[in-house]
Symmetry: D2
Subunit: 326 residues, 4 copies
């Protein structure tokens, strides 16, 4: 199996892919998977569609920046690719050094400018006298330190600010973790495959949709939300994206709790299909947090099945019987 991801190596997307592989059942992950970094989601998607890779990990939503437009737009525009899994990765940084270096030894810290900005409070507090040096990426900072010549006397007094994965990948020791000033930021990633494949429901699933609303009808968004609500389907995310043809025209990227196999989800999708000029199904897949939604008895599968059976029984009465027609 060939897996693509938004590179370079040791990015948070890489981390998300490793998490996804670790979570797979053993037999599915039996063969040694091949991981391949791509410079953009667009090029990776082309490789996926052309069969050069089998799946692709891409960021879809960040807790600070919101939806990742590039990924959302590619998902909406590419036929027959679907999301089959999600992973959430904390946006967190570590201070890493060569084995044997202690925090007190550190005289210089290297990282990418962007990452430096996110940890400056910690640096000021814990390494006020250290020199802060630029690197082309957090991965590069880690790699350079790892590859430093054994003769290089300064190597034992240098550290890198990088992702936990980069530290591990390059054999560095973590001197401090969670050193970002704003704790709790997360990015959500999705694993995408071709051929419109939908994994079976687990009971703790999510379904991703794109809908356009009828622009000539007032209250179209209200109407769409009522159709989810009428089927007991909660939204875990709703984001607007411009359609592009006029000011004020938006499509909505939506995650709902539940799986296409859940009757309540399928019924809500049918209802939306009626009222929305465009509706795209981007996948049903297990939730990263494994939380099972609280499903009311009136929107459980059995409630839908019994309702169907009732109307089917009524409909049989439509056939003229022995009674003379009145």
């Amino acid at each position: 199996m060939q897996y693509g991801f938004l590179g370079p190596e040791t990015t948070f997307t890489h981390q998300a892919l490793l998490q996804a592989l670790a979570a797979m059942p053993e037999d599915a992950a039996d063969d040694a998977p091949v991981l391949q970094p791509f410079s953009s989601v667009a090029t990776a998607t082309t490789s996926l569609v052309e069969g050069e890779i089998d799946a692709l990990m891409a960021p879809i939503e960040n807790s600070v920046e919101g939806g990742v437009s590039g990924t959302l737009d590619i998902l909406a525009a590419t036929k027959r690719i679907t999301i089959v899994a999600e992973q959430v990765v904390p946006v967190t940084f570590v201070l890493a050094a060569r084995p044997g270096t202690s925090l007190a030894d550190v005289r210089a810290v290297a990282s990418h400018t962007h990452a430096q900005a996110q940890v400056q409070g910690w640096i000021r507090a814990h390494l006020p006298d250290a020199a802060v040096e630029p690197a082309s990426s957090t991965a590069a900072a880690a790699r350079e330190l790892a590859l430093a010549d054994v003769e290089d006397a300064t190597a034992a007094s240098r550290a890198a600010i990088c992702s936990p994965l980069a530290a591990e990948h390059y054999g560095l020791e973590v001197l401090a973790e969670g050193i970002e000033d704003n704790r709790g930021a997360q990015t959500r990633f999705v694993l995408i495959t071709r051929n419109h494949r939908i994994p079976p429901r687990t009971g703790a699933d999510k379904t991703t949709l794109v809908v356009h609303l009828a622009h000539n009808r007032a209250g179209a968004l209200l109407e769409a939300l009522e159709l989810f609500n009428a089927n007991g389907v909660n939204l875990s995310r709703i984001e607007s994206r411009p359609i592009g043809d006029a000011l004020g025209r938006y499509s909505f990227s939506i995650d709902v709790e539940g799986h296409l196999e859940d009757r309540r989800v399928a019924n809500a999708l049918r209802a939306l299909h009626r009222v929305c000029p465009v509706i795209l199904f981007l996948g049903s897949y297990p939730r990263a947090d494994g939380i099972r939604p609280d499903v009311s008895s009136v929107t459980a599968d059995t409630a839908y099945d019994e309702a169907h059976a009732w109307v089917d029984a009524l409909s049989e009465m439509l056939t003229p019987g022995d009674d003379p027609q009145i």
Copy 2:
């Protein structure tokens, strides 16, 4: 064919039944139908269920008094009987006399007290000097006048206040019609058969339901109405009836525009079946007024069919394909 109706003969119910027979296609009404008056809807229903009669005409709603409780309750309580047609009859009275009598000849007017009360304005204006005499029913007033001995000299100066049908039935001449003080009152009647039979849809149909609401959930009526609304199903009547077990507990007798064969109606019924502890289907049948509802493109049959086809196509992707499972 044996038809029951709430008697005696020449009542408005009798009139409704004659209207219904006249409206039937010729081959359905080929044989001479037999019409049988009953003293109550309850006894007529027993005859219907036991197969002694084939259909039954009963009043269901009056524009002044509202729902006819007796009929509504029997419909709700009796299994496998359904409404197959409706008729609307104006509640109107005529002044009728023996052929040859003119309005100027009339010295005495007979009717039932109830009918007299409804025409007293007209009598005061047009027959201020006439004696007003009681009769046991409007039909009895008409019949007595019709059967008056040919030797009875007063017969030519007497008139009866009765239904148009009674005048016709007893061979009287109508001297004035529409003489009721409050014009425009109407009663709606339904034709009921056994064996849960549903006539085919005509495009201008009505469906009658009884629903109980979940009493432990706030906004249950709102929720039920939203489910009709979400399917573009209009209500032409909604009436409350006490369930009987506690104060404030009501069921609702509902007429909606449309037929069980309309996808939007069937879908609304399924939705209600999920959320209502009790839902009874009492029939789909042609509207008396023949008005076709204005159906939006998003609730037309094709919209439901296309939505089903779309979700069915998605669901086929659930079967594992050639792709290795990720």
Copy 3:
């Protein structure tokens, strides 16, 4: 103070009035109140409006029969009379006899036919050999027994089926209580005064309304219910009543949880006033059951007051300030 009630004496309405008087604060009930039976709610209302009585107790809703049309229609049609209290009375019967009579002594039981029908199961089980004798009312049965000549030897072997109040009123002894076959039936009564008076809120109140819906707008009932819902106002009763001008045209008699002084109720009333062609306020008054509704923080008085203050503050910005106008 003069109180009217739907008579005769010892009816359940009489019982409701006695309950209401017992529940009044001592100083309000200081003077000996005068209680006066009326033969109909209509005549009692005329007396109320003309100032001959100060208040009137009338039945409004029965758990088996539903709304009491006569009372509902008079409340809707009479200006400036309002409901100021409610009482709930169980519809229950007792077997009563002269003091000294035991159940084993009873050979004959008298009551009104209607009451007999409701206790026949109990009579069959406990007095299978007793003669059942008709009376003109349950009160009459009790009174006749109470007034029986002391010489009448059969008096000691006779019993009456009547209301608990009738037994007490006529000095009879209760041999068995709660003997009705269907337990739990209740009737709700309202105390009505003139001059549009509204008692202060207690926190456990009810408000009674009549609304007509705009007949030319689809979903009018749904819209009205949404306006209650948007203000967190629960309905404890909703009943339809024909408006009278056409088939399918209904007004709704509604009880909501809360008092006119509750911001959420006042706001819902304002919203309904906008969309309903007719809305009648029939009173805010303490609930008989004393249950306080569960009010969310978003519909508490403070939430409305803060929202008002916010918009008022914004509106002050409408006055041109020091800034030059752009």
Copy 4:
């Protein structure tokens, strides 16, 4: 008056500001306004708040890219600044040259890479043989051409791709207009002032809001939309923005049709204030398109005023009157 705009000169924002000034009543625009370009909306906002400029024009929404995050976030985060006007500017390009140059003369075309990409279809069709040369901005391309030395023989065979305003500003002649490949793109700009000032309503107004939804309540967005709908307030734009504290947490930037002085808008704002943990009012101002919304009689100002008067009259009944208290 000092006006800031997102520079450099001749940007579409500059164009929007000129449009706004041209639209002002004469007396308001009497003095010669001073226009000052800023390198970012953030620095311009600081100048506005500190009183160095009086108003600021900034882009808020583009028909292709959607909301302009920078402006939306600054509006949400800055106290007491409000939108007082909007302008819509078509995103369109012209081919401009020195006076006397004709299309047939053009041998070289200069522009910014970004603009070149948007007009390449037109260039291929109309100037297939022209050399395409880069410039640092579309304004720079125009300026360089305008300032070319009079001795420069090539100047008469060169053209610039720039905004219509740049051509006019630098005294160039427009050889072709509307040459962008995708026609119809527009950007919407808002004029912002300090001191929370609200211009009077014109009848064709817009109100801009930011709301956060209660994240622990299902259907919070649905509830918010219902509150607009219940007051007949249409949304002309709704966009999500991450709140930043967790995945799936969004605020909404909303434009509604109407003005704070419209009772329906004020009432909807009060209702939202109750249910939303955060609601920001960013201004009521005239719509650029001048379209007056279709206001139903049930949401007209008079409907709100009459509803208020009715409840106020009812509330007067709360004061104990002459009637003894029951």
